[in-house]
Amino acid sequence: MTDLFTLAISAILINNIILSKFFGMCPFLGVSRKTSSAIGMGAAVLFVIVGASCITYGLHYLVLVPLGIEYMQLITFILVIASFVQLTEIIIKKFSPVLYKSLGIYLPLITTNCAVLFVAKDNITQGFNISEMLTYSFSVPLGFMLVLYIFSAIRERLDSSKVPASWVGNPIALVVAGLMAIAFTGFAGLV
């Protein structure tokens, strides 16, 4: 098994969840207009992914496998994620109403964020042990946060430039994403 550091670097840079795997696109295009909300979103996603991964990992190996009901994986995982997001929503509302307001509808939408379900499933598919699972679950949302932050910084600049009418908003954002994806492929030989 790859050592933990290599695993982390590969999850953050080389196989970045947004730029090379396409997971987490909705918040990527929706929330990334301001750097402050990008960080907040990233942090929320990090909390959900780490928490949900731990629970689903335990659920799979302690309940589903012994009972031989692996086909229930999808239902149980997504229900766990939905509940965990609900929990996160309650916590954020209590501790930072400002963040809650700025995230708006995107907070409950973390449930349908492909990234969360993907990481939960990938921990199982790749056969990680606990420390690898924790490293991976932590690194993937870090990569997400990194790209989200860079992207929001670029978008702040884009908003004040002259963009052709049909390209305003998402289309030009996607072009930026494409260019970032090309840039990130440069990390390929890193480890």
Binding site: L74, I75, C114, A165
Partner: protein, 215 residues
């Protein structure tokens, strides 16, 4: 809105991928070949139709407070069934779509339509809405993958998912020297998608302007 209008909306004005930006993860990751696009598109369409029908049928008895978890259970069940059936009967499609079949469950389109339409309308309407949105989604996937496959491999191949036999194949050998493999990579997906979004935005702006102009 009458049924026909609703159905057509799914293709252009409210195209789930280019207009509403839903279901992007799969759209971008899958659309490298038209085989994948059609396979995924049809899968999503079927799941969408069935989930819309079931949720619509259950709408009168589902308590509002737990409607989201209930929708999730329904959709997850349908997706798991789809995954098992595809694995057993269409193995080549299963290998190429991989984890994305499971990820249909978090495809915003399905949950979105369930919440916005199926929970408030009759079964037949819900089914048609599912069909329209699903076909619109398939249509968008096809558009992206035709461009990507042509540019990256200078050929188009359509095969039978059950037997892996090739149904038709177009080889543009004259363009083979100009193929750009960037388009089979994620960056190419973003750029193709950006271009199509701009085109759709342009079409939408024109038709909106026309509507405003006639008012």
């Amino acid at each position: 809105m009458n049924r026909k209008q609703n159905f057509i909306n799914g293709f252009i004005k409210e195209n789930p991928v280019f207009g509403l930006y839903l279901g992007l993860c799969s759209a971008l990751a899958i659309s490298t070949t038209i085989d994948n696009a059609i396979g995924m598109g049809l899968c999503v369409t079927l799941v969408l139709i069935f989930s819309n029908v079931i949720i619509s049928a259950m709408r009168k008895i589902t308590p509002s407070e737990i409607r989201i978890p209930v929708y999730i259970v329904v959709i997850a069940t349908l997706v798991t069934c789809a995954e098992m059936l595809i694995h057993a009967f269409m193995p080549s499609l299963f290998t190429s779509l991989g984890v994305f079949i499971s990820l249909i469950v978090v495809n915003c389109i399905i949950l979105g339509r369930a919440e916005a339409f199926a929970s408030k309308n009759g079964v037949v309407d819900a089914a048609l809405d599912g069909l329209g949105m699903g076909l619109g989604y398939t249509f968008s996937l096809l558009l992206i993958s035709v461009v990507r496959e042509l540019l990256a491999t200078a050929s188009l191949t359509l095969s039978n998912p059950f037997t892996s036999d090739i149904i038709f194949q177009i080889n543009l050998t004259s363009l083979e020297a100009y193929k750009i493999s960037l388009f089979s990579s994620p960056a190419g997906a973003f750029l193709t998608f950006a271009a199509f979004s701009a085109v759709f935005a342009m079409i939408k702006n024109k038709s909106d302007a026309k509507e405003k102009g006639t008012k």
